[in-house]
């Protein structure tokens, strides 16, 4: 079963790969979504916490872009394959953002389950996935 990670757990998977997260994934295929990845990239593009004073802005951007690039073994379904389903979900479930609709649509497309951080566990996604029968877990962070 493929596991669709939110941006927080995707960040954790790309950095520390802590034991609870590793156990939750349990060797299954890892996926995320375009919009969760966009949110992570926005944070990376704005981040200033690392000592890169020896780099000019172009070099720094290049470094961050390289570090945030998704490893090839992480699946992201192209938006063109999800757009219609996202539209249907948004039409049928009020209060669902485009990000939430993509998460549920990707899980349906991949026959996957969704795994999110318990710290950022939106009610719209939880409610929608329950109505369409997608498994959804929240990992304490």
């Amino acid at each position: 079963v493929t596991i669709v990670l939110d941006d927080h757990l995707l960040r954790d998977w790309m950095t520390s790969r802590d034991v609870p997260l590793g156990k939750a994934i349990a060797g299954e295929e890892v996926a995320s979504t375009n919009l969760w990845y966009v949110r992570l990239c926005k944070s990376a593009a704005r981040a200033t916490g690392v000592d890169t004073r020896r780099l000019n802005s172009t070099e720094r951007r290049a470094l961050v872009a390289g570090l945030i690039a998704l490893p090839g073994d992480i699946v992201v379904v192209p938006m063109r394959d999800l757009a219609w389903r996202m539209g249907e979900l948004a039409a049928d479930h009020t209060g669902l953002s485009a990000l939430g609709a993509e998460a549920v649509a990707a899980a349906i497309h991949l026959e996957a389950r969704i795994l999110v951080s318990a710290t950022d566990n939106g009610p719209g996604i939880r409610g929608c996935r329950a109505r369409v029968g997608i498994a959804h877990d929240a990992l304490p962070r």
Binding site: H8, T15, A44
Partner: protein, 41 residues
């Protein structure tokens, strides 16, 4: 001219990314983002 290669020591990319985007920084950025289509809902 106008071309360069940045290299990161083997095994350091994960640590460097963790420093660039700490978990708490990303949680805060998401909480402050006012784009409704990128909200967790």
């Amino acid at each position: 001219l106008g071309f360069g290669v940045l290299t990161v020591p083997v095994g350091q990319a994960r640590r460097l990314l963790d420093e660039i985007v700490p978990a708490e920084v990303h949680y805060a950025a998401v909480a402050e983002d006012d784009d409704p289509e990128l909200a967790t809902k």
